[in-house]
């Protein structure tokens, strides 16, 4: 086969994705994941409409049990803040931080992995050393230290999670690139005189998109867990409400009013579970070989 023919025969990535979409839609775990995630996203989008006003305001009698007062369906905390409002507004912060931190990790991880896998040799060796180094530092402790030193704010929390969450993705992308790097497609492109950047961004990256998307959904889940853990330890942005912070506050009155710490935790579980389920479903759809028997 001539080189041109080989290039012409590269299957358009779009078709593969459409198939993956339909396969995803058939995975029960993906469907449950999408439904739960849709619910959490709806909470975030509708927070201002349903609960106008700052969720950190003291709006009612403190320590109202869920259902006690119809205007506070989930009750109030020890300072009289509306728990339902906090949970709805917390969804915005969790999703925002999860998404932006993951985007940051994606840029670093895909960048490091792509360059290491594509160029190989010394570049690969030094980038992998760097990745190993970041994998050695306990990620949560690292993020915690960064936020503690730089003072907690949405920006520092996003930065801390973004900087600590990329190494496994870099390894994954590198492995995928190594697989494709010596394939016919890339060799043909090189022979046709395509630039490195063109090959990386136009040909290699689209072909590694599937595993990256799967990782991304799990990374958002992990980022939400990390954010809530930081907030639980008191390292949340003090100006916004956060599920983890709500659990941390409720902990003080655990023995008498356990629901204050319990309810925001349920929200965290639902959001993280949704994203993990979605990741599982995507994974099974993208890689049917590994499908659960």
């Amino acid at each position: 086969m001539a080189l041109v023919d080989i290039v012409a025969h590269i299957p358009p990535a779009r078709i593969a994705q459409d198939n993956a979409f339909f396969r995803t839609a058939r995975q029960p775990s993906a469907v449950v994941g999408v439904l739960l995630l849709g619910f959490v996203v709806a909470m975030a989008l509708l927070a201002n409409q349903i609960f106008p006003g700052d969720p950190l305001d003291f709006v009612g009698q403190p320590f109202q049990r869920p259902g006690e007062d119809p205007s506070f369906p989930l009750g109030t905390d020890m300072l009289g803040r509306d728990l339902a409002s906090g949970i709805f507004h917390g969804a915005r912060i969790s999703l925002l931080i999860g998404a932006v931190a993951t985007a940051m990790s994606l840029v670093i991880g895909v960048g490091v992995g792509a360059f290491a896998g594509y160029y190989g040799g010394k570049i690969d060796a030094s980038l992998m050393r760097l990745t190993e180094f970041f994998q050695t530092i306990p990620p949560f402790l690292f993020a915690l230290t960064i936020v503690a030193i730089l003072q907690p704010s949405i920006a520092t929390i996003v930065g801390a999670i973004g900087v600590t969450a990329w190494p496994s993705l870099a390894r994954l992308v590198r492995a995928e690139f190594l697989k494709l790097r010596h394939g016919d497609m890339v060799q043909a492109e090189i022979a046709l005189g395509a630039s490195d950047m063109r090959i990386i961004f136009r040909h290699l990256l689209p072909n590694t998109l599937a595993p990256i998307i799967v990782s991304a959904s799990v990374m958002v889940a992990t980022a939400i867990l990390t954010e809530s853990s930081l907030a639980f330890l008191g390292l949340g942005d003090p100006n916004v409400v956060s599920w983890g912070g709500m659990v941390g506050a409720g902990r003080e009155v655990l023995r008498s009013d356990w629901y204050i710490a319990t309810l925001p935790g349920v929200a965290i579980v639902v959001a993280v579970l949704a994203l993990n389920l979605l990741g599982d479903g995507l994974n099974d759809a993208v890689d049917p070989k590994q499908e659960r028997r």
């Binding site: 306990p138 949560f140 853990s229 008191g234 935790g265």
Partner: protein, 326 residues
């Protein structure tokens, strides 16, 4: 020729040096990114440290010197194992960490063992009934725990086992007021350990359940398992000597990857249960803004990760004769 074991330890020692250097660099620049004067950052909130202490810090870290000199001084301190002095705790940082490390290792060891044993058992059970209801139930439970933040699991277990049932102690590591010694002391520590270790273990349970399930299904289809069946071995022997033994290899690899994450989880669990370990110390440092102590903890935790991985690599060579120390 240099013996394999010497090369193995040489490589690990080099890795350790690289990690320590890397963290030193990271810490150094992190401190300079912080808002305000580095000495104040190190000492904690402005106003709470005495001028003498600030002066001592400046001198120790050479904060009045140019950056490269500061860095050289910082490195020299590190290499002489001088991690500084914790003004808040009134003890050298290294000594504080050495005091707290055993409790954390006990907690981590117990919870990883719990996650590994229970997770593997659940994974084996799921693999044996792959695709059936048992499999779905086990996989769902594992996934649910994987989505649950450890601090919240801890709080829920406190509510159930301490507040409602009053079965187990859920704070600290010992009942100091009882003054137990000998066997009674050990039993007391064990009772205090149950819920914290379970809390931390439950999160990692999912990882091992899924991994073991996948590995079991994979290994069951290997040719050597068919050979074992054709030899007429008893089913139990095939399962444990041939299938589980090989399926454990990827699980062990995962153990190495997870050490750092388990340490992170320990910070939260120790905070929830007032477990007097490194994580609790980190929380105290955080609360008191004793950042020098926090940086020391970060450094020592990374050293623990490197050492744990070396131990796991060694264990791997015992379980898989194809792998040699390198």
């Amino acid at each position: 020729m240099i013996p394999v074991s010497v090369r193995f330890f040489g490589r690990r020692a080099l890795q350790l040096v690289i990690v320590v250097l890397g963290i030193a660099i990271t810490n150094f620049f992190l401190l300079r990114l912080a808002p305000g004067d580095a000495a104040q950052v190190l000492a904690g909130e402005a106003g709470s440290a005495t001028p003498e202490y600030l002066a001592a810090l400046r001198k120790q870290f050479g904060l009045d010197q140019p950056l490269p000199v500061q860095f050289a001084l910082y490195l020299r301190n590190l290499l002489s194992l001088n991690l500084g002095f914790s003004f808040r705790q009134g003890l050298p940082v290294l000594e504080l960490i050495a005091q707290r490390l055993p409790a954390t290792l006990l907690l981590m060891g117990t919870s990883i063992t719990f996650a590994l044993l229970v997770g593997s058992a659940m994974g084996v059970a799921a693999a044996r009934r792959a695709g059936r209801a048992t499999d779905t139930v086990i996989s769902s439970i594992a996934l649910l725990f994987y989505a649950t933040p450890v601090f919240w699991t801890g709080i829920m277990l406190i509510v159930v086992f301490s507040v409602w049932l009053d079965w187990l102690p859920v704070g600290g590591m010992t009942s100091i007021e009882r003054g137990y010694t000998g066997l009674a002391y050990l039993k007391d520590v064990a009772a205090h350990l149950v819920i914290p270790a379970t809390t931390l273990g439950l999160f990692f349970l999912a990882v091992y359940t899924r991994l073991m399930r996948a590995a079991m299904i994979d290994v069951q289809q290997q040719d050597f398992v068919r050979t074992a069946v054709a030899k007429g071995l008893r089913p139990g022997r095939i399962a444990y000597r041939h299938v589980v033994r090989n399926a454990l290899l990827p699980v062990l690899t995962m153990l190495g990857v997870q050490v750092g994450a388990v340490l992170g989880g320990a910070v939260l669990v120790e905070t929830v249960f007032s477990w007097p370990g490194l994580g609790r110390l980190a929380f105290e440092a955080l609360f008191q803004r004793d950042l020098n102590l926090l940086l020391g903890i970060l450094l020592c935790s990374s050293v623990v990760v490197v050492l744990a991985n070396a131990a796991i690599d060694f264990l791997y060579t015992v379980l898989d004769p194809r792998i040699e120390l390198s």
